[in-house]
Symmetry: C2
Subunit: 395 residues, 2 copies
Amino acid sequence: MPTDHTHYLSELKSRLETDLFDRVIPFWMTHSADNIHGGYYNCLDRDGSLYDRKKYVWLQGRQAWMFSKLYNTEEARDDWLAFAEDGIRLLQKFARRDDGRLYFALTEDGKPVHIQRKIFSECFYVAALAEYSRASGNPEYLSEAHTLFEQIWEWSHNPALVGRPVLSGQTPLSPLSHPMILLNLIEELEPPELTTTPRYSQEIDECIRKMLLHVDSERKLVRENILADGSAHDSPEGRLMIPGHSIEAGWFLYHWAKHRKDGMLAEQACDMIRWSFDAGWDPEYGGLYYFLDAEGYSPAQLEWFMKLWWPHTEAIYALLLCYLDSGSEDDLKRLQRVDEYIDTRLIDPEHGEWYGYLDRQGIPTHRVKGAAYKGCFHVPRAELFSIQVLRESLT
Amino acid sequence: MPTDHTHYLSELKSRLETDLFDRVIPFWMTHSADNIHGGYYNCLDRDGSLYDRKKYVWLQGRQAWMFSKLYNTEEARDDWLAFAEDGIRLLQKFARRDDGRLYFALTEDGKPVHIQRKIFSECFYVAALAEYSRASGNPEYLSEAHTLFEQIWEWSHNPALVGRPVLSGQTPLSPLSHPMILLNLIEELEPPELTTTPRYSQEIDECIRKMLLHVDSERKLVRENILADGSAHDSPEGRLMIPGHSIEAGWFLYHWAKHRKDGMLAEQACDMIRWSFDAGWDPEYGGLYYFLDAEGYSPAQLEWFMKLWWPHTEAIYALLLCYLDSGSEDDLKRLQRVDEYIDTRLIDPEHGEWYGYLDRQGIPTHRVKGAAYKGCFHVPRAELFSIQVLRESLT
C-alpha cells in the first residue's frame, strides 16, 4: 500500500468509527429494544419511531449476531451481551417450529405471522447461535447451530423440502445465494483461527467451486442464476445480475482465500468484487443499481434502478479488502467513489443509521431506517469489519 | 353534459380509436402470436421483440377475453375470434390442474413453471371462458366458467384452500381485490342485458357491501385491506392504499349501479373513483402513485412512487363515466389531467402499446411493452370501453 494514502485510510477509519459507535449502534440500542416481550422492533421510521410492531426473523437473528460479534471482537460490554441475549431468547421461544424451520415474521409477542419457502430465516439464526455461543461461553448454542446447519445444507440441495413446488416446466437454476450464505455460515460456525478439527472442509470446497461457476471471466460479470454446469440460461432469471450480492459473495470468498492462504482464490475473489462493482455502478447518477440484465434488457424487477443501502455497505468493505490487498490506484478510486456516495447520500448524521432506499438520482424514496428486510446488520457489519481491517493495516 | 365539451370528447374518442385500432391491437396481433404452440407470448420488448418465452396465465386469460370482447361488441372479425381461441386452447390443455386450480406461468409449449397461492389465474380464465362462450356460440365454455366460479367463491372465503398458511399471529384482513374481482366476474358470467334468470343476486349484494366497507367517507379515502367490520388496522397492510385498484373497483361498482338503476350507489362509486384519484395523484410530477400509506408513512413497497400504466387506464375510463354522469367541471378537469398524462408519457406512437413503468418524474424505467403482469388487457379494455361509452353519449 502506497504510504501517501494512509492519511485517507486513517480519516476513513475515523469517520466509520464515528458513524458506527456514535450514530448506528446507539440508534438500534435506543429504538429497537422491546423491554416487555424481548427481541427487537424492526420497523423504525427516520427518527427511530415505530411504524409497525411486527418482528422479522431474519433481522432478529442478524441483530443478535451483530451484538454478539461486537461483544466478542470489539469490547466485552455487558449491555451488548444482554441485548444479543434478548434476540436469542425470542428466537428460541417463538421463531422455531418443531420441524426445525423458522417463521419469517412474528407479532411483537411472538405469534407467527408468515413463513417463507426459503432457507434464510434459519441461516441467520445459525449465525446468531454460533456467535452468541462464544459470547455467552455456552457450547449448547453452538451445538444447536451445527445441527440446524446440517438440516439447512439438505434443504439447500432440495428446495422441495421447504415447500417450493417442483413443476415439470421449471429449468433448474443454481442461485448464487445458497453457496455464498453456506460458506459464510461455515466461517461463523468454525472460524479457522478458533477451530482445531474442522468438520466442513468438503462443504467449503463445494461452496467455493459452486460460487466460482457464477463468474464469467470473459465477459467480466457475475450471474445470479446459472445452469448446473455454470453456463448461462437465456431468460430474465438466467441473465440476472445483483451487483450488491456478488460483491458480498466476493468478500465471503476472499475471507476463505486468506484463511487458506490461497493467492489465486484471493485474486478471483477481488475480480468478482471489481467486475460486479464496475458493472453495477451507475455512470450518470452514481450508486450501485439493485438489479441488472446481463444482455441489457429491462430487468423484470420494478425497482431495478433503485440505489439500496446494502450493496454500498458490501462494496465499501469489499473494495477496502481489494485495495489493501492490491494497493492499486484503480481499487482506491472505486473505494473512494463508494465512500463518497455513502457519505453524501446514505448516512443520516441527524438521527443515525443509513437511509435504505434511494431513487436512481440518489434521493431517498423512503424515510425508514428499519423495515422487513433492513435491520441492524449490513451497516454495522460493514463498518465494524472495515474498522477492524483498517486498524490492523494502519498499525 | 355541457355541450361545449362535446368537441373535447369527440376528439378524445378519435384519439383513443387511433391508438386502439392502429397501434395497440396490431401490436399484440403481430408480436404476441405463437403459431406453433398456441397461446400468446407475453414478454415483449419496446418494439415487440421477445425477451422471454414463458407464458403467463393471467395474461393468457385476459388476452383471450379481450379478443372475444372485441369480437362480441365491436366487430365479428374472424381473425379476432381465432386469436381468442388460441388462448382458450392453451389454457384448457395446459394451465388447468385436476383440482380446478390453474398454474401462473408455463413454458412456451405449456409445461408448468409456477403456481400462485392466489385466485387470480382462475378468475381471468373464468372471464375468458364466459366471453369466448358467447363469441363461439358454444355454451359448454360458459358452463365450465360457472363451475369454476363457484370454486373460486369458496377459495376466496377460505384462503387456506389455495395453500396460504394460516398462522396464529395473523390479523385477518379483508382485501378489496376479492369482492371487486368477483363482482366483475359476475358481470362477465351473466351480463344483465343478456340474463333472464340471474343466479348470483345474493353474491352481488355481498360483493357490493364488502367493497363499500373499504371506503372511508369521512377521510375520503379507500383502504386496500380492512378488518371484517370495515374498521382500519394500524399496520402497513391496514394503512395501504392502491389508487389504481380502488379506481378500478369504482367503475366495477358503477356498472352494477347502472344495471340496478341505483342512483345512490352510482354516486358512491363515483366518489370512490374521485377520492382515489385525488389521493393518488402526484401534485409535483403528475401521474398516479402505485401505493400510498393512509397516514403518510413510507409504504413498505419499494416501487410505491412509480407511475404504472394500469392505474391510468382505469382512471381514464372511470373518470369518463363520472364526467358523463355528473357533467361537473371538477370531473372534467380530472379526466383531462389523466388524458394529458397518458398522451405525453405512456403512449408510444412509434411501436404501439403503452410503456408500463415510469419513475416518479414520468420517465420510462423499463422499455418493455409486455411482462409477467402486463399483457393485452388494461390498455385495450379501457380504450374499448371508453370509445363505446363516448360513442353512445355523443350520438
